[in-house]
Amino acid sequence: MASIETPTTTLRRPAGYIARLGEWAINTNLALGDMGVFFLSTLYWIFRWPGRRAISETFAQMYEMGTKSIPVVMIGGGFIGAVLAVETLPQFQEIGLASRVGSIIVISVVKQVGPILTAVMLAGRLGGAMTAELGTMRVTEQIDALRVMGADPIRTLVVPRVLACVIMTPILTLYSDAIGILGGWLVAVRVEGVRNYPFWHYAAQSTDLFTVNVGLIKAFFFGIVISTVACYKGFRCGNGAQGVGRACTEAFVTGFCLILLSNFILALGLNNLYNALYPNQPSVL
């Protein structure tokens, strides 16, 4: 079980660049290891069945997360789709292929922009709220109180949030995808006068179920990253209001970097999977 006590294992002995680099590497590794243990205890409780109350708390969290995030996700997605149309349409028009703009909008939105943009917005919106809430609970000894009353804090606090976030991120990504495509359609068809039928025809031709699934698989992993990092930073938060504020900033920055990193790794992995499944087609990832 991960202890709530602030880890005292970090090294602090500045002496020259090499030593400082080594120190940074060790501290980063310790922090990553600590976060890994934290994540494993979360998995442990999920697979050991966290109990009925954790599950009903999960639904409460899903409702909370969904209602809070739909507006920001839709606004963000819509404008990105619109901007994509604004920027790419002139290029397509120049070579007389304006009706093909639908495919590029759909591919970029469904595969890259939708999942990543949604994840980054959720890291700010949900991650920030989670870190602040759990951090405040830590600072005011509520997490200690849970432990004293024999309720595992990971089971009661972290599991519902991670589960809810993992379920909601793909759903919100779908929303963002849909509104993004709609935004692109508005600009291309309604404003710039691209014909409606070819827009949708090429849009549909360029995507298949695999493409949509790629976005959802990514969203699933982004959900894990966002919630685990946010909960971890809340649990390890420093003292006072300042500690909570700093934990929120760190949660966002760490979450953001890990989203981009995992996106890269997933793109490589899924690309290989695609080549294995459809060997004679050009890679679409």
């Binding site: 005011t140 109180a145 004293v148 309720a151």
Partner: protein, 267 residues
């Protein structure tokens, strides 16, 4: 009911909680520097000491929220300082902990807070829990507040709700971290009476951390004073009043020492 059997058991001489040469530091700050102290079963022991000497840290060692850098902590004859959360669970179930800052769950109502330990651990039905929550809240003078949120309460009211939560499961040991701080004198006396009542009727053992000397002398069978990382005084109220150490005398009388006063006059 477990209380019934406890009532009839004869008092045992072996201590309930025992610290043996416990050292604890945070970074370079040494808080406990070889503390050895025992807390007797069925007795109320008051822990005194200036702010910041580690009284709360001492209590947290008993429930395993902190573990010593060296030395050991025993619950009856069982060594508990190296136990993990899962191993500590049966012991924590027998201990009620009143946190210094109350630590009420602020996403739950007052009623849910008090019901929380019962929902986690007792096989009580919903209506039994509701009755017991009402009874515990009445004991601390907070009846009919079940549906309030902790954020709507004053500091003293939160403390009383936290006390109701700490005694929800009929614990055999209650750790009170400053139970009367922030309460008016009359409320404080009600809490003192509550501590005495739990002690007399249910034979609850208690460790009370306090700065309130009236409360300390009223509820304490025995008083220990923690200062500078160690126990500097240990005895009954009368023994403490007659203690030869000037630091103990100053603390009991609430007198600033010369050095503090000199610092003030320099301003």
């Amino acid at each position: 009911m477990p209380d019934q059997s406890m009532q009839n058991s004869p008092p045992t001489p072996s201590p309930l909680i025992r610290f043996e040469n416990v050292h604890k530091r945070f970074g370079s700050l040494v808080v406990l520097n070889g503390v050895s102290v025992a807390f007797a079963e069925g007795k109320t022991t008051v822990v005194l000491g200036p702010s910041g000497t580690g009284k709360s840290v001492l209590l947290k060692h008993i429930v395993g929220l902190l573990s010593p850098d060296s030395g050991s902590v025993y619950y009856r004859d069982m060594r508990i300082d190296h136990l993990k959360d899962r191993g500590m669970e049966p012991i924590r179930r027998k201990i009620g902990f009143l946190f210094q800052l109350s630590a009420l769950f602020d996403s739950m109502t007052v009623g849910e807070n008090v019901a929380f330990p019962m929902r986690e651990h007792s096989g009580l039905s919903k209506s039994e829990i509701r009755d017991r929550v009402a009874e515990r809240l009445a004991m601390v003078g907070m009846e009919n507040t079940e549906n309030k949120m902790p954020g709507e309460l004053s500091g003293g009211q939160r403390k009383r709700v936290a006390l109701a939560r700490a005694i929800a499961l009929n614990p055999e040991l209650v750790l009170y971290d400053e139970p009367t701080t922030g309460l008016d004198p009359i409320r404080s006396d009600v809490i003192n009476e509550l501590i005495l009542k739990l002690h007399e009727e249910l034979k609850v053992s208690a460790i009370v951390v306090t700065h309130d000397m009236t409360s300390a002398f009223k509820v304490g069978d025995r008083l220990v004073m923690l200062m500078g990382g160690g126990i500097i005084a240990d005895g009954t109220a009368d023994e403490l009043r007659a203690h030869s150490d000037p630091r103990v005398q100053r603390f009991i009388a609430g007198r600033a020492d010369e050095e503090d006063l000199r610092a003030l006059h320099r301003i």
